[in-house]
Amino acid sequence: MADAAAPAPPSPPVDLSRITFESTRNRRRIIASYWFIVILALPLWWRTTSIDRLSLPESRARVLAEKHLSSPVHVELRGSQEQLEHVHTLHHELARWISPVAEANGLSFTAGQGPHTRKAGPGSYNVVLENRQDAVVEGRSLHIGLNEPSAGQRVIDTVTKILVPHVSQTASEEHRVVKYSPRYRLAFSLLNEDASSGRAALSWDVREAVDTYLHGTFDRLSVLHNFTIESQVQYHAPLAFEPRAIHVADNDAHGLTPEDLTVFVNSAEWTLASSSSNDPVLHFVLFVPSSQHSPLYILDHEGQATTSDAFVLPQWGGILVLNSPPSHLTVSELAKTFHTFHRQLLTLLGVPDLPAGVQSRQAEAFTDWQLDALVRQRARQNFENSKDTLNSIVKLVHQIENMPVGEDVQGDVQDALDALDAALEAVPSSSTQALQRSAEALTLSSRAFFNPGMLALLYFPAEHKYAVYAPLFASVAAPLIAAIVREVIAWRKARRAARQPEARARAD
């Protein structure tokens, strides 16, 4: 009764564990599923934030770095019966003195004597000893006289210079030669300083002139380069400075000082080339001064007018001043102009000169010796440049850790290395082949270097990383970690509670 009289005990609080989501098991599942997703996302996060850096064939590049192109060159000495002894002695001397110079310049030099020791190939030349004073080149043969005491020395000297002309090249000559490119654009411009002043060349037969005077050269150079040609006429192309007034033979004239020449091109007001492609451009300018500035001469350092009317800007192009032209320049009137342009073009492309005292008997502008020397030189330069580029790619990828390396870069590097190997293989049989392979390697290695995907990620200081990640992740991580800690504590408590009654029971 007493029990009945006693006030009913307050109904126990709702058992939280009955609510499904508050049941311990479910709650733990929910928390675990959050963590599960976070952990599942980790690889994704890793993948999306890491940079794709494929491995490059470094060891291959390193091995190639030690190698150099070495074109074989064979010189065959010939002479008439009575000169056999000369031939014999000279042959040894040639081999002895030229080999070191040639080797230092990427040639493996051999000398032979007699008419039938070796077949004529691309790398083989004849030196014919004759009774004459001068030296003449014809095809791949050099006819040289041998009737003076110092002739032996002269032969060796000449053969060295004609085989490796780049040895005796000065820095300024090296300076003006343009970088190798498989394609060039040649821009011919006829600029009238002021056509309204009277004396002006209003038109020119440039297409015919190019065909007549330059076509042969283009054909000869086709193993090295392709040329695109454009031309224009401008009627108002003012100078940016006032030429100096001078007197030549009691007549008023104007002159360009050596300093004026460096600023002659008024790039702010002359549009000299279209920008239709990314090929390097060589400019050839025929400048007609206005009647106020006419005649216009080039001055030397003393301020005296020189007989020259043309100059070269290194790696840029050539300029020719034409005083008092007819209003229309026909092909024949352009002969002198285009011979100057021709000369300037060869200078800029690096076609070597023949050694002093050697004359050409060929109709072409330059001999096979010269062309071969240029091809060998360009092949060697391309080979070295391509190697340098490949090694700098490898070096930069190591140095800059944020730089991605994609599949196309890997492929281009691979192909460039193949092309370099092919060049090495081709060089004993044909230097033209070697040039083509090395040019290919240069193009490929440059393309790999300039791959748009190779742009490194921006530098991101450590503080910035904390500043970016903390607001994002700290707010998410805090409840997640707190929930785990709570669960662990609750679990341990429950376990202790479960163990305690057991212990108490055992004590009883």
Binding site: V312, L396, I489
Partner: protein, 418 residues
């Protein structure tokens, strides 16, 4: 039988000649080396000039940054760099801003005497194209194949490049368009990549922004000369307002440099040291810095026109080469050969002339002073950048933040227990 002694004489002659050849080669090598030393010592060995001019900030109130960049554009163009060799990046078009009272014009002085926009201007990157990425692509040349020639920096190892940047910056960064920034490390890495690919001969880096000198502190590639408008923790100020335009029209440092440049013609012999000598706090209201430790030539002999001008050398073709009628025939060939030394002598004379003109007032003492000053600033930045203190404080901060987060978690779990 007379031939034998003759032949032996010839061989002896050949032998002695060869010795001479070796001696000659040595001589030649010496001469070549001397020439190159002279090149690196005084006359620049470049054949073409390029300029990259960047205005990195947009909005009307940054009018002065646009006119900074345009002022430099006008100057490099006046001194002979063709438009095809200038990459001009302008983040905004203030000339056509509706708030511009003088549409189509950008002035750099209060009297509005000089319109920088003019009628012949070629902006290569404008508006939203001016990004950090595009700037780095221009420098490194990593472009899509479809990008036109006018937007490319087609330089080689004979190119001198002038890089000018202006905008809002801070310690080791420069803001682009108010939403991203380029750091000193990025530019330094870009220059290194250019060096590796032989994309420059020399670089002259100039920057006008707050704490500008920190921007060149990370450079590590050779042949870079750098100058900036202000030291670390120092602002770079504008020069003057125009009341009709209503905003500041140019920055103090750039105004000062441009004023110096106005006194320079295409054939001027002023050296970059002359420019640096004109820097003063009174005129600029900040402390401009110079960094020359990576640069190999003495500043006294480095002409301003080596970076702002057009071409350095011209070679006169001697008339013998030119007078040919018909395909150059044999006689002309020989003439050509004879003419070569004369031509070379002329080139040498040009060089000697320039050297003399510049070395006129050279005083080694001054150069040394400059060197030490430049080195001092460099060392200062370097110690600041990589000092152990710096890295320690970074780690300390990191651990502190971990501790804060930990205590936060502990606190949450305590509360939930109660």
């Amino acid at each position: 039988m007379l031939i034998l002694p003759w032949l032996s004489a010839a061989v002896v002659a050949a032998a002695s000649w060869s010795q001479r050849v070796h001696a000659q080669n040595a001589d030649q090598e010496h001469a070549v080396r001397g020439f190159f030393n002279a090149q690196s010592g005084s006359v620049s060995s470049h054949t073409n000039n390029w300029a990259v001019l960047v205005c990195a900030s947009r909005y009307w109130f940054n009018y002065r940054h646009m006119s900074n960049a345009l002022g430099m554009y006008r100057t490099v163009k006046r001194l002979g760099i063709p438009d095809s060799n200038i990459i001009l990046m302008l983040a905004d078009d203030v000339a056509c801003n509706p708030r511009n009272k003088f549409p189509g014009c950008v002035y750099s002085n209060a009297g509005r005497s000089l319109d920088l926009y003019g009628d012949n201007i070629e902006v290569d990157y404008r508006g939203y194209e001016v990004t950090v990425e595009n700037f780095l692509r221009v420098l490194t040349g990593r472009m899509d194949p479809s990008v036109p020639r006018s937007k490319r920096l087609l330089t080689d190892d004979r190119s001198n490049i002038f890089v000018y940047m202006t905008g809002h910056g801070g310690n080791e960064f420069l803001k682009f368009q108010d939403n991203e920034e380029i750091s000193a490390y990025d530019i330094a890495d870009a220059f290194e990549q250019m060096w590796q690919k032989k994309r420059y001969n020399e670089i002259f880096f100039m920057i006008d922004t707050c704490q500008a000198n920190t921007m060149y502190s990370k450079f590590y590639s050779p042949n870079i000369l750098a100058t900036g408008s202000s030291e670390i923790h120092e602002n770079s100020y504008s020069y003057e307002n125009d009341n009709d335009i209503g905003v500041a029209v140019i920055d103090s440092y750039t105004h000062h440099v441009l004023e110096f440049m106005e006194g320079i013609g295409k054939t001027s012999h002023k050296s970059v040291q002359d420019l640096f000598d004109t820097y003063s706090f009174e005129k600029i209201h900040s402390h401009p810095g110079v960094r020359a430790d990576l640069f190999r030539r003495p500043l006294r002999q480095t002409l301003v026109t080596d970076f702002f001008g057009g071409v350095a050398q011209a070679e006169v073709l001697s008339s013998a080469l030119v007078s040919g009628q018909g395909i150059p025939n044999t006689t002309e060939r020989s003439h050509a050969q004879e003419a070569v030394p004369e031509k070379l002598a002329m080139v040498n004379a040009v060089e000697a002339y320039r050297t003399n003109a510049t070395s006129g007032q050279t005083s080694t003492q001054q150069i040394e002073i400059v060197r030490t000053r430049a080195l001092d600033t460099a060392a200062m930045f370097e110690s600041y950048a990589r000092g152990e203190q710096g890295s320690f404080s970074i780690t300390a901060r990191a651990w502190a933040s971990v501790a804060v987060a930990g205590s936060l978690i502990a606190w949450v779990s305590r509360i939930s227990k109660h």
